[in-house]
């Protein structure tokens, strides 16, 4: 055995603190369709805290056929009970309860997430994932009353190295170094120094800093190359690093865009939302005074001697990080814990907030989509149409002529609503073929997709989709829309 933590492989994705959030969260599942159950399965396995399952039906043959967590010897029993027992059997860390009822009063309850399948849920107080599978098709719809993400976790994180605008200690360090000396020395000058020197040389020669794309990527690159002089090819590793990281040389103002987009909702009290708005206010003040955000701790590897690297990381940058932290902390006026402040500062370059349209808003008037690359938009219109058909007829349309005719009329209305001329006849016929059927494999695809989003909403890590994902299993395509 190599690790005594059964969650090791996922803690490497969302960290100890993410795991703790997961283990302290409560999830409500409305309805026991395969898609909802598959989603919950992918939350029980990683150790979600508490689950509540609401379903008023009894187990039928059909459930046994398409739901893995409903065994064949449970026909006639409460679906909610059977599903809960079979899900919790997988992971002893997870607790839960079931209710065989139709309507569940969520007033006075607290949930970190509601997963709704089968029935619509218009709740706007909690995070919500609405799910539907229909034959080979699937739909995931997210809603969050407030979505502010500190840990957006980009695949290629940006570093804030202040090469363009070095703080005093860094500038003194840069100025104390010359790119000359013996081969071993020059080959171990950190690339950040090379970029700084290249900027100085460029400015000296041209009287300005590179600004256009051509200047930044061609002319400036020539200047970097000129700095390595007669150095032989095999010793130029650090100069290549400088070229690879050429964008680091220019003012890194990603945070400005983020800060402009973020609107703070005034609110009192505790919790993540309150902390977030406090942090944003503090950041605005900090920037006003210092002209730049507080410096983050992240420092990339670069080819250089060990002592140089440790000195840069711990002393030059490290001391500035600590100084900025203290100032920033004072601006937060004890409203936010140190750990969150540090996390916030680390992620200032990529903060994100999303304002979700509510499900009611989408029902009334979905956003129009101008260009779409595959069939997913057509399927969205048709899924709306069959749902509307069901609302009127309390049955799903089949391939008989009357059903198709009635569905066509509904499709026309839906097309007008979303500003589309019409959808091809063959697609209407295809969707009538499904007649509300729920395929396990499609539910399983959707369950995987939805549970990724669930973890994002619960842990406040990564960026969730805004707001709809349509999966077309018939052609193996998927797209995201904001409806």
């Amino acid at each position: 055995m190599s690790s005594n933590d059964k969650y090791d492989r996922q803690v490497r994705i969302w960290g100890r603190h993410g795991q703790e959030k997961l283990q302290n969260s409560r999830v409500l599942l409305l309805g026991c369709d395969p898609v909802g159950v598959e989603t919950l399965k992918n939350l029980v396995l990683p150790g979600i805290g508490y689950v509540v399952i609401i379903d008023n039906k009894l187990v039928t043959d059909q459930d046994v056929e398409n739901n893995f967590f409903i065994p064949y010897d449970t026909i006639g029993q409460s679906r909610a009970k059977v599903v809960l027992e079979n899900l919790l059997e997988m992971n002893i860390d997870v607790k839960g309860e079931w209710h065989q009822i139709d309507n569940f009063n969520i007033d006075g309850q607290q949930f970190d997430l509601i997963i709704a399948n089968e029935k619509q849920c218009l709740e706007t107080k909690f995070n919500l994932i609405e799910l539907q599978t229909y034959g080979f098709l699937g739909r995931v719809r997210l809603y969050s009353p407030s979505c502010q993400i500190i840990e957006t976790k980009p695949m290629n994180p940006k570093y804030d190295l202040r090469i363009f605008n070095p703080f005093q200690e860094l500038k003194e360090y840069f100025d104390s170094i010359e790119i000359e000396g013996d081969v071993d020395y020059v080959a171990h000058i950190p690339y950040i120094v090379i970029l700084y020197k290249a900027l100085q040389k460029y400015h000296k020669e041209k009287g300005k800093y590179p600004s256009t794309f051509q200047e930044k990527h061609k002319d400036f690159m020539q200047v970097i190359k000129s700095l390595c002089g007669q150095l032989e090819f095999q010793y130029q590793g650090n100069f290549y690093e400088a070229i690879e990281n050429i964008d680091q040389a220019f003012d890194n103002d990603n945070w400005k865009n983020c800060l402009e987009q973020i609107e703070i909702e005034q609110n009192d009290g505790e919790g993540y939302k309150y902390k977030f708005s406090t942090l944003i206010s503090a950041l605005r003040q900090f920037v006003l005074i210092h002209g730049a955000p507080p410096l983050g701790k992240a420092f990339p590897d670069m080819k250089c001697f060990t002592q140089t690297y440790v000195h840069l990381k711990n002393n030059i940058y490290g001391i500035k990080v600590e100084k900025d932290f203290q100032i920033f902390k004072d601006l937060c006026q004890n409203k936010v814990d140190d750990e969150t402040i540090r996390l916030f500062i680390e992620n200032i370059q990529e903060l994100k907030t999303i304002n979700f349209r509510s499900i009611q808003q989408e029902l009334d008037q979905p956003n129009q989509v101008d260009d779409y690359e595959n069939d997913c938009y057509i399927w969205y219109i048709l899924l709306r149409s069959v749902n509307e058909y069901y609302r009127i007829n309390t049955k799903w349309p089949s391939q008989n002529q009357d059903d198709i005719q009635q569905l066509k009329e509904i499709v026309e209305i839906q097309c007008k609503l979303v500003g589309v001329d019409n959808v091809p006849q063959s697609y209407i016929q295809e969707i009538c073929r499904y007649e509300g059927s729920k395929l396990h494999m499609i539910a399983s695809v959707l369950g995987g997709m939805a549970s990724q989003e669930a973890v994002k909403l619960i842990t406040n890590q990564f960026v969730p989709i805004n707001n709809t994902l349509i999966y077309d299993g018939l052609k193996s395509e998927a797209s995201i829309f904001e409806f």
Partner: protein, 414 residues
């Protein structure tokens, strides 16, 4: 699934609409599917196949269950730790879905002859390494038989569906040999493995990872030359951790932990239930579509990025192209008829001169004068003897190299 298979589908293949209904349902329930790997992807694939109406599934995995599998491999429990994955998974599926037969194998995939793989029209692979993927890719290519006009013989083309995950990201592909890009065609597109330079880890370490890599790659060999490093042995891993910690301290580097040590040495890839579920299920959807002619096939590679800080999720469907110079799927096929009592040396007269011949990586005939003596004893063996001593398998395809050109040699016995 069954009720859908009755209906007319304007968006599906002709084949489907011709046979929809009972014939198609029967077809689905008589097809056998092979699943390679009973891990994160495998467990999900088995579940999805069984609940889609497949009645016979074969599953290969030689691994045993580890504690860290339990966060996603949902057919295993704490009490199963240490048992064979394939066996526990098969038992669980059959208990839940008694109408489905699951046959487990706990051997290496390389130990099965081509005849074994020919029984499955679709092979789904949930593997965790490149070598095994390349091997099974080669098998589906070698299984393709051609008639005298070089046309592919019906039923000899077997599909390979391959999935993989890393963290919240994953990908799946459908390989139809000689029709779409094979795994080998796309090998150059694989992301480069992160490797630390030896001069960095030896003389100018900067990151905690550098210190760990030094102990693992240099110090172990130097200080414990007689002990083979076992990455699953706590004492071994702890030794590396302690030494790395010492080295880090010496260089004033922070951040060496036991967890990081495991990550670096074992090259641990983060894994979670959600990503496994969605990739495995996409693979199953492709399999069911192949078997029933529903819809159209994934063409031919899908990338899923659950980690995307701009749009939340990034989805790319890419049509990967066949490579003209692919060493696997653009190679020539040669069929040769022999008697079982013929000696291997008969091939010297039937094949071009100066050829090298291999079977599953083992040399049979060489053109290298220095090595010829060493393989001479094989030349006088009959094909029957070679099969009995497991040097070649009943339906093996031999690989011949003729001046840098690769040829598949299929032996047929009269």
């Amino acid at each position: 699934m069954n009720s859908i298979l009755n209906t007319y589908s304007p968006l599906s293949k002709e084949l489907y609409n011709e046979y929809r209904g009972e014939v198609m349902r029967d077809a689905l329930s008589t097809q056998k599917v092979l699943v390679i790997g009973a891990g994160g992807l495998g467990c999900e694939i088995l579940k999805c196949l069984a609940l889609s109406g497949i009645k016979e599934i074969h599953v290969i995995d030689l691994d045993t269950i580890d504690l860290t599998n339990l966060n996603r491999q949902f057919l295993f429990r704490m009490k199963d730790v240490g048992k064979y994955k394939a066996e526990v998974a098969a038992e669980f599926i059959m208990k839940r879905i008694p109408s489905c037969k699951v046959i487990p194998y706990t051997k290496k995939i390389q130990e099965f002859g081509i005849g074994f793989y020919q029984e499955f029209s679709v092979i789904i692979a949930g593997l965790d390494n490149i070598e095994a993927r390349r091997w099974i890719n080669r098998v589906v290519i070698q299984m393709v038989e051609r008639d005298e006009n070089e046309k592919v013989i019906d039923g000899s083309r077997h599909y390979l569906i391959d999935g993989g995950t890393e963290g919240l990201n994953g990908q799946a592909r459908v390989i139809s040999p000689f029709e779409s890009a094979c795994y080998e065609c796309t090998l150059s597109q694989l992301p480069k493995q992160l490797q630390y330079q030896m001069c960095t880890i030896a003389s100018t370490p900067r990151l905690p990872e550098h210190c760990i890599a030094y102990v693992y790659e240099v110090l172990w060999q130097k200080e414990q030359p007689d002990v083979k490093l076992d990455k699953d042995n706590f004492d071994h891993m702890n030794w590396i951790y302690q030494k790395a910690l010492e080295r880090a301290k010496q260089f004033n580097i922070e951040g060496v932990t036991y967890k990081l040590t495991l990550g670096v040495v074992k090259n641990i890839i983060p894994a979670v239930a959600s990503t496994n579920a969605l990739i495995a299920s996409i693979c199953t959807v492709e399999c069911i579509k192949i078997l029933t002619g529903n819809g159209s096939q994934l063409n031919n590679y899908i990338q899923w990025y659950g980690q995307n800080h701009q749009t939340g999720v990034g989805i790319n469907v890419i049509q990967q192209e066949r490579l003209d110079e692919c060493t696997e799927c653009s190679i020539q096929q040669l069929q040769i008829k022999v008697k079982r009592t013929d000696q291997l040396s008969i091939l010297l007269t039937l094949l071009p001169p100066e050829i090298e011949l291999y079977c599953n990586g083992q040399t049979l005939i060489t053109n290298n004068n220095l090595r010829k003596q060493g393989f001479a004893h094989l030349l006088v063996k009959t094909f029957q003897e070679l099969i009995e001593s497991k040097i070649i398998y009943e339906n093996s395809v031999l690989k011949a190299i003729d001046k840098n050109k690769t040829i598949n040699v299929r032996i047929q016995y009269e």
